[in-house]
Symmetry: C2
Subunit: 127 residues, 2 copies
C-alpha cells in the first residue's frame, strides 16, 4: 500500500492557529487511534462541565490559561500541560487570548454533559 | 470524589525535557484514554520499523527531525507535526538533537515490529 503526502498529514501548529478566528471552537488537525488533536483559541470563561467517559489533555501553546476545579485552580503557562480526568467537573478560562492544544477521544463534546447555546461547538470540524 | 493536585498531573514540557539525558528513550509524562504522551530526545538515525496497530503523532518541540518513508521523506521543524498511520514503515532521524512529543497508545513499542538491542526501549517509563 502506498501513502501519499496528504495521508501523511504534516502540519504547522502556528500556521493552523493563524487560520482560527473564533474562540472556543475546536478545530481538528490530526486524527489517530480514535483520538483527535484539536486546536482551540481560549478567551474569557468557559462553562462548568465534565466529561463522563473522556480524559482531556490540555497543552498551552501560547499565552496562559487556568483550569478551575471545584476545590482548586491550575494555572497553565505556555509549554505547560494538564490532564483533566473523566468525571471531574472543571471550567477553563483565559484573561487574554491563549492558544491551546487539546488531545481527547474523537467526538468528545466540548461542553461535556452540558449543552450551551453559545459554547457547545460542532464536533469533528477539521481545519 | 475529591482529586488532589498529584492526580491532576500538571507539568512543563521544557522542565521535563531538561530531565532527559538519553536519546531514543521515551518518557511518559501523561496518560489518558489508553494513550500516552511521551517525550523523546532524538539524535542520529532510528531503525526502520512499523507499528501493526498503532498510529503515531510526532510533534517537534525543539530542533528539527525527519521521518523517512520508503517512498518519501518528511522534514519537521519546531512546531510541526505529522501522523504516521499504522502499518506504514518509517524511520526517524535528527542530525542535531531534537526534542519531540509523541502521542500514541500506551505500551506501543518504540521499534514496533522490530526488536533491536540498542534501540528497543522499555515501555511505560514515567519521567
Amino acid at each position: 500500500m502506498k501513502w501519499s503526502m496528504s495521508q501523511i498529514n504534516k502540519g504547522s501548529i502556528d500556521e493552523k492557529f493563524s487560520l482560527i478566528h473564533e474562540h472556543w471552537r475546536p478545530k481538528v488537525v490530526a486524527q489517530l487511534n480514535g483520538q483527535e488533536l484539536k486546536l482551540i483559541k481560549f478567551a474569557g470563561v468557559f462553562p462548568w462541565h465534565h466529561h463522563e467517559h473522556e480524559d482531556e489533555l490540555f497543552l498551552v501553546w501560547r499565552g496562559e490559561m487556568r483550569i478551575e476545579f471545584r476545590d482548586q485552580s491550575v494555572r497553565l503557562r505556555s509549554g505547560e500541560f494538564c490532564v483533566v480526568p473523566r468525571g471531574v467537573e472543571h471550567r477553563t478560562m483565559a484573561d487574554v487570548e491563549a492558544e491551546v492544544l487539546v488531545f481527547e477521544p474523537a467526538q468528545t463534546r466540548n461542553t461535556g454533559n452540558v449543552v450551551d447555546k453559545v459554547f457547545t461547538a460542532p464536533n469533528g470540524v477539521p481545519l
